[in-house]
Amino acid sequence: MKINFEHKQAAHCENGVTSSLLQYNGINKITEPLAFGIGSGLFFVNLPFLKINNGPAIAFRTMPGLIFKRTCNALDIPVIRKKFSSRESAEKALMEQLNAGQPVGCQVGVYYLTYFPKEYRFHFNAHNLIVFGKEGDDYLISDPIMETATTLTSYELERVRFAKGAFAPRGQIYYTRKGNNVTDAQIASAIKKGIKRNVVHMIKVPGSVIGIKSIANTGNKIKKWKDKLGDKTAGLYLAQLVRMQEEIGTGGGGFRYIYAAFLQEAHAFVPNDELLDISKSFTQSGDLWRTAAVQAAGIYKGRIGSQADYNQMGDYLLEISEIEKRAFQALSKIKWRNG
């Protein structure tokens, strides 16, 4: 049994699943960047005192699950979401939807995700994929980060749906129902809402844990890493920062390029020319994040590593913080025109 569903690749799994499920329901205009922007996906957080994989807990995007939720809410699309206590009921519910012709989003863990390269299989439980059929014992899988559709045996799928630990998926499935047709005016209003919420997250939250102040704060901390941690641990911390920033799903430059693409695409729905200019600021920020990554690699590869090199690394983040501050301030000042 195979649903007539077209696999589409995306940079990030959650954007991709959102965009693909909506398209299946006839909502064709929500591309990956639009889903990301409407869902206020851009973020920066550096949680003090918490360590992930023995390194700093840094993220460049919003919490898993929120992009899908916010985007569907903003467009008034009904979402069905279920978790399960038993594996049998989880599989039964999945099959019921597939038999009814509904492709289903699944939250899964990647540690046992067999088609991933081993180097990428950590205990990360907030990956998303779409199941769109079953042939023999194989489930047909559309994983947005893969170039082509793939398969998992029923045992393999069950195992990743019931991965355990932080963000345990507990078999979670989700899908959208056909609602009313989404109009361009609705998309325009969703875009504005998404931008406003992102402005709040990035420049209006007090403290220095979240947003542009957190970027600057991280930059200042990095300058002290050489003395405080020593070159080896500092190198591992920088490598972790680079992985969070550039690994699968970010579209490059810690999601800043996807956000720049979002502002360009938003312009087609909301004709404020400022959007195009501000988009360039995010391109500039993404470029600088990548320049910082090259500097970081110099340090963790041992090519450079003087205090001046750490200072330079920290200064890049301070500069990025300024660029993003100005960009979000500009977004907050837009006088919205009606399309």
Binding site: Q9, A10, A11, E32, P33, N53, N54, Y111, Y115, F116, P117, K118, E119, Y120, F122, H123, I145, M146, E147, T148, K164, G165, A166, A168, G235, L236, L238, A239, Q240, V242, R243, E246, E247, I248, G249, G251, G252, G253, Y257, I258, A260, A261, Q264, E265, K280, T283, G286, D287, R290, A293, V294, A296, A297, Y300, K301
Partner: protein, 135 residues
């Protein structure tokens, strides 16, 4: 990032799939491009794995020197933290901390050993003797 600057370095992911990057064309308009990988982040991932290999080796030595139980070795080997291992075994974190001590570990019942072995995806025999079958 401009379209022609999208890196195409060979890495672990590139063997399986190329990944989507967003980059600008000659008119400054964003397009989706495919990348096989980027040295900068490939090096970052390599470094993380070198660190993991080191941690596994340290854990192995500790078990051999009778300073830690096989639980520590497999925790590192399976990339688990306390939360993950507690979730897979059903033990409390404070129990696991005790089981890290060789003296306590030696007294564990077969049933409890089996819970660990299942969580680590090995047989009880292999678990006790630090044997790893790569899957």
């Amino acid at each position: 990032m401009k379209k022609e600057e999208v890196p195409q370095d060979p890495g672990a992911l590139g063997r399986v799939t190329r990944e989507v990057c967003y980059a600008t064309d000659k008119d400054g308009k964003y397009t989706k491009e495919l990348s096989t990988g980027w040295d900068v982040k490939i090096n970052a991932l390599d470094l993380a794995w070198e660190d993991i290999a080191q941690r596994i080796e340290n854990a192995r030595q500790k078990v051999i020197n009778n300073e830690a139980s096989p639980v520590l070795f497999f925790m590192e080997k399976r990339l688990m933290d306390m939360t993950t291992i507690a979730a897979y075994t059903g033990f409390w974190k404070w129990q696991i901390k005790k089981h890290l001590k060789p003296a306590v570990f030696k007294k564990l019942s077969d049933k409890k050993l089996k819970r660990y072995a299942d969580a680590f995806n090995v047989s009880v025999e292999d678990f006790i003797h630090l044997n790893v079958n790569e899957d």
